[in-house]
């Protein structure tokens, strides 16, 4: 009898990092069966099959990235003409005036920014102050160009050393909305096109940090840059979106721990968009940022709430991952979002084999255990 046989163990760096995903799933039909192992127990693969079919039919990860268009309300004889009038107003009146406002904003901005940047090269402190103000101004122009109605709750961020700000992420406009109130240095994915151009010229001046999602080595370089930035006294406060990707403002995905192991106070910011006016979720797989902006500029308004929440520090005995989850909890509760246990980067890559191995291990263990029983 295979009484004394041991389980061939795997490399047991079983993610002590990750909060246990199994805790999030409803206790599935894998009850611990007891009693002697019979043929029918070996042949009965129903729990695994049920899980797989359940994932095919509906899964919490895909739900996070589903853009839910608002219900159409124009299905009536009198509602339809009203809607048509609305379209006319939005596209022929609002849109052109918004484009004018935006162009004006750009002219004002560029005509002030370029001289300041070039002429004040020697007087760094003054230059930075002016550039900060100009970037904030430009963002206000942007927000005005979508008729943004942003309600800020809570104390405004203060410029103090050793603090970072984290927020949930729905679209790149999150950054613009926050930036109009305070000039943050944000850490962003480097984009191609005109956005990339903006990133490398203007946003550099505010101290933004770039990264490339696809490059593995990038993570260490970025972590180093983050640490340097936080130590600098004159740097703009750092803003990080720990989800790492845009989510549809109904859920939050797992926060990456990078922001939480810098040894700083973490100030959470929660952002919630009001869907009645426009769905601000930028589904980067479905539309480019330009299309997204155009969509915003032809809607009635962008209405959102921004809550600046109480700063949090790492508690004694808490790991950075637990800290990240705690802050995610605070943000999700405030903004009314549901938490899911998935890593946002699974949008771009497959899950690591560790999860499958966990399941395999528990199956093997249970089988061997039952074999012992008589």
């Amino acid at each position: 009898m295979s009484g004394s046989e041991k389980l061939t163990s795997s490399s047991s760096e079983l993610d002590l990092d990750r909060p246990n995903i199994e805790d999030y799933f409803p206790s599935s039909s894998i009850q611990e069966p007891r009693g002697k192992l019979r043929l029918r127990d070996l042949l009965d693969i129903s729990p695994t099959l049920t899980e797989a079919a359940g994932a095919i039919v509906d899964d919490s990860f895909t739900r996070c990235f589903k853009s839910n268009p608002p219900e159409p309300w124009n299905w009536n004889v009198y509602l339809f003409p009203l809607w048509c009038c609305g379209v006319v107003v939005r596209y022929l009146i609002l849109f052109p005036s918004r484009v004018i406002v935006l162009t004006l904003g750009w002219i004002v901005f560029l005509s002030s920014f370029i001289p300041v940047h070039v002429l004040l090269k020697g007087h760094d402190k003054l230059r930075k102050k002016l550039e900060r103000y100009l970037v904030e101004l430009m963002c206000s122009f942007f927000v005005a160009s979508w008729t943004g109605v942003v309600k800020y709750h809570g104390p405004r961020p203060s410029r103090r050393p050793k603090q970072v700000f984290v927020a949930n992420h729905t679209s790149m406009i999150d950054f613009i909305i926050l930036e109009q109130m305070t000039a943050f240095a944000v850490i962003m994915q480097k984009h191609p096109g005109w956005v990339g151009l903006l990133q490398s010229t203007i946003l550099e001046s505010v101290g933004c940090i770039w990264f490339h999602r696809s490059e593995a080595k990038d993570r260490e370089i970025v972590a180093r840059k983050l640490r340097e930035h936080v130590r600098g006294i004159d740097n703009n406060p750092l803003l990080i979106f720990p989800e790492g990707t845009c989510v549809n403002n109904h859920y939050t995905v797992m926060f990456k721990k990078g922001a939480f192991e810098l040894g700083c106070t973490v100030c959470p910011i929660a952002i919630k968009y009001n869907k009645i006016f426009v769905d601000a979720f930028w589904n980067s797989r479905k539309q480019s940022f330009t299309t997204h902006l155009l969509q915003l500029m032809t809607s009635w308004a962008v209405v959102c709430d921004v809550w600046y929440l109480e700063p949090q520090t790492l508690k004694v005995g808490e790991t950075p991952i637990e800290f990240a989850e705690r802050v995610r909890d605070i943000i999700s509760v405030r903004a009314g979002l549901k938490k899911v246990p998935w890593d946002g980067y699974l949008k771009y890559s497959r899950p690591s084999p560790k999860h499958r191995e966990q399941k395999q291990q528990s199956f093997a263990e249970s089988m061997l255990q039952r074999l012992q029983e008589r």
Partner: protein
């Protein structure tokens, strides 16, 4: 149904319902269609293996590769028929037949010792050695009166599994 349009007509729904032997209600079929279109990113009319694997919960499942072979490239009608084994209204026989198909990867109507070994390998991975698996399986088979050379047919599966309370059910979310 050819090119998967974004709207299902009543005729389409009834056709699909007939194809799956009325195991899903019409509302469930509409929900499944929405899900199908969500997974099928470029409206090709079927879901590719890659698109299935983009669902992390599915990719993590030890039996995902086997199920992929069964479900890859199916059009919507066959997709619903595939899932019909998981409907609450499906008979125990239907469910056992499904399990049999999962084991019988070469579709020759019989499940050999090696077929079962392979499924066990998928389920336990590197945490059991081949020898351990073979030992356990031979032992358990012997207790039920089979040998290493026996081939199990569908009837054998029904005999072995029919008496246990099999729970294979998936609820289709209907909003």
């Amino acid at each position: 149904m050819g090119q998967a349009p974004s709207m299902l007509t009543q005729y389409d729904i009834e056709e699909v319902q007939e194809h799956c032997n009325n195991l899903f209600s019409q509302q469930e079929i509409v929900s499944l269609y929405q899900r199908f279109c969500q997974l099928d990113r470029n409206a090709k009319g079927f879901i590719s293996a890659d698109e299935f694997l983009s669902v992390p919960e599915f990719a993590m499942n030890p039996l995902s590769q086997r199920l992929l072979k069964m479900v890859d490239g199916l059009n919507f009608k066959d997709f619903v028929a595939f899932l019909s084994a998981f409907s609450a209204k499906a008979t125990i026989q239907h469910k056992i037949e499904f399990i049999f198909r999962v084991y019988d990867s070469d579709s020759n109507g019989k499940v050999s010792f090696n077929d079962i070994l392979e499924v066990l390998r998928d389920l336990s991975g590197s945490f059991l050695s081949d020898k351990q698996r073979e030992q356990v399986l031979s032992q358990v088979l012997a207790e039920t009166g089979y040998t290493k050379e026996s081939y199990l047919m569908l009837d054998d599966f029904i005999k072995v599994l029919g008496s246990s309370d099999l729970k294979i059910e998936v609820e289709v979310p209907v909003d």
